[in-house]
């Protein structure tokens, strides 16, 4: 799989670090932000392929970040992470344009699988 530029936005540093560890071991380059505002700035200035976004952040509602990312265009794609493991949460995120949804807690395999699934098309040889 091609290496991607990934941004993790979560106010829990343990989760940021864990995601960075797992994904960088798969060859991706991973940054992280601990607040919504820092995340928005990083998105503005960066060239990320993927954002792993916690919906509950202390300063900005994760869903708002998702909306603003989607309004600007199809890239980067967003995977939403949330501790409220309910169906309605997932549905709301998907409606707002999230590419996938991870209910916390999840394993490293689940994380890697969710990421790889998103880029499977791009990596497919037919699409070069």
């Amino acid at each position: 799989m091609k290496p991607r530029r990934i941004l993790v936005i979560d106010d829990e540093s343990v989760i940021c670090d864990a995601c960075c560890l797992v994904l960088s071991e798969k060859g991706h380059s991973v940054d992280h932000c601990l607040t919504g505002n820092a995340g928005l700035l990083a998105i503005e200035g960066g060239t990320y392929n993927l954002i792993l976004l916690d919906v509950k952040l202390p300063d900005v509602d994760g869903m708002e970040i998702l909306k603003s990312v989607r309004e600007k265009g199809p890239v980067p794609v967003v995977i939403v992470m949330t501790g409220y493991s309910t169906m309605s949460n997932a549905l709301q995120a998907m409606k707002l344009g999230a590419a996938d949804y991870l209910a916390k807690p999840f394993t490293d395999d689940e994380l890697v699988e969710a990421v790889e699934k998103l880029f499977a098309y791009d990596d497919d040889s037919r699409y070069g």
Binding site: I15, A18, L21, G83, Y84, S85, K104, P105, F106
Partner: protein
């Protein structure tokens, strides 16, 4: 006293008692009025009134007049003591021989207080004795029919008011209990969402690191086993929290015409393995004439799975579980019973098993039956439990037949 003034006197007393009954919401005030006026109109020394405490099945002193404080603390007595002969339910009982009457507990005391005669007036509703007025007299005398009529009428009225107030009081208690329950539930819902988020975050850290680490340890090392356990237990926490959220969320059932036998079969398909593994026998007695009714199939299936798993876990190996379904056309409902011959439920636990977080299982979340209860209630149904410790436990679910074009046989035919 002439007979007309006597009559007037009775009338006034009776009027006062009736007034007290209608104006007062406290039984105590009414009872005090009854003992005071009865004493007065019968020219007695005093009176004592006992009421049946339905929980202990004993008659407790609730009002005393003219006899001093000590009488208020007299111990409770049983029905047998008060009324050995049920034919006398609506009659006044005369005690003229204070010394030898079986009904008199402390003859010496009574004699010393100058009591030479007693009247027992039963307070009865139809064929049930709910209380008794004892009237104490200092001189034995004959009672006229009018006097007896009067005292029996007062007793009758008194019994009615006691019954009514007790009914109101029990409804009030029930309502208070419900209100607290509702309050508990709604704050539980808010709390559940908060807990879920707060706990799922640290769990995410644990699960990501442990699953990542498990790939890095050498196969067969003791660390590998430890990490496997950490991963498994963390995922168990996730399941518990999901159950909690599921429970806290007030889901409206999505009802469609459904065959409850088919839902039961589908639930049995899911738990079948558990039955086989534990060598638990399963008997099906599903009604052949089952009718369709409006149900949320997923929710009802969840209830069945919960109850079936509880049953399987309650029986030892080689135990037995029976599922039955039936149509009760007369009550326009269908009924499902899940019976096991397992360990049973203790009486103390029975009262609490539908409460959230109450569990007798070491690994239980205490949510299975609470969720099931909520689902059945959302279907306007009821769920009941009958159990004999060490012998049998039976859960009975009743659900109304909601026809709405889903009837396959005449539901409105009279039985």
């Amino acid at each position: 006293m002439t007979s007309s003034t006597k009559f007037e006197n009775y009338f006034h007393v009776f009027r006062d008692i009736i007034r007290a009954m209608h104006s007062s919401t406290s039984v105590k005030e009414v009872l005090e009025e009854v003992v005071a006026k009865s004493t007065e109109v019968l020219s007695a020394k005093g009176a004592l009134l006992r009421i049946l405490n339905k929980e202990t099945n004993r008659f407790e002193v609730r009002a005393v007049y003219g006899m001093g404080e000590r009488y208020l603390h007299k111990g409770p007595v049983t029905t047998e003591k008060l009324l050995p002969d049920p034919r006398k339910l609506h009659k006044v009982i005369f005690i003229t021989d204070v010394w030898n009457a079986r009904r008199v507990e402390y003859p010496q005391q009574a004699w010393d207080e100058g009591i030479r005669m007693m009247l027992d007036v039963p307070l009865a509703i139809e064929d049930k004795l709910i209380g008794l007025i004892r009237i104490y007299l200092e001189k034995p005398r004959k009672f006229t029919d009018d006097e007896l009529d009067f005292i029996l009428t007062v007793a009758e009225q008194c019994a009615c008011i006691i019954e009514r107030v007790q009914l109101i009081e029990s409804q009030q208690t029930q309502f208070d209990h419900l209100a607290t329950q509702m309050e508990k539930m709604s704050s539980l819902g808010r709390m559940a969402a908060g807990i879920a988020h707060e706990i799922n975050n640290p769990l995410a850290g644990i699960l990501l690191y442990s699953s990542n680490m498990s790939k890095k340890v050498t196969q067969g090392s003791p660390l590998e086993e430890g990490l496997r356990i950490i991963i498994k237990e963390t995922q168990r926490c996730k399941t518990i929290i999901q159950g909690l959220l599921e429970f806290a969320r007030d889901r409206k059932p999505q009802k469609v015409p459904a065959d409850i036998n088919a839902i039961m079969e589908s639930a049995l398909g899911i738990v079948e393995n558990e039955f086989r593994l534990r060598h638990v026998g399963l008997e099906r007695e599903l009604a052949e004439d089952m009718v369709k009714t409006l149900l949320d199939e997923n929710q009802i299936e969840q209830v069945f799975i919960n109850l079936l798993l509880n049953a399987v876990h309650a029986v030892e190996e080689n135990g037995n579980v029976t599922v039955q379904s039936s149509v009760e056309s007369l009550h326009n409902k269908i009924q499902v019973e899940i019976t096991d011959n397992g360990c049973g439920i203790a009486a103390d636990d029975i009262k609490k098993i539908f409460e959230p977080f109450y569990s007798t299982k070491a690994k239980g979340t205490g949510l299975g039956l609470a969720v099931s209860y909520g689902i059945v209630k959302n279907h306007q149904g009821d769920i009941r439990v009958y159990s004999v410790l060490g012998e049998i436990t039976r859960f009975t679910i009743g659900l109304p037949i909601r026809a709405e074009n889903c009837s396959e046989r005449g539901l409105h035919e009279t039985a």
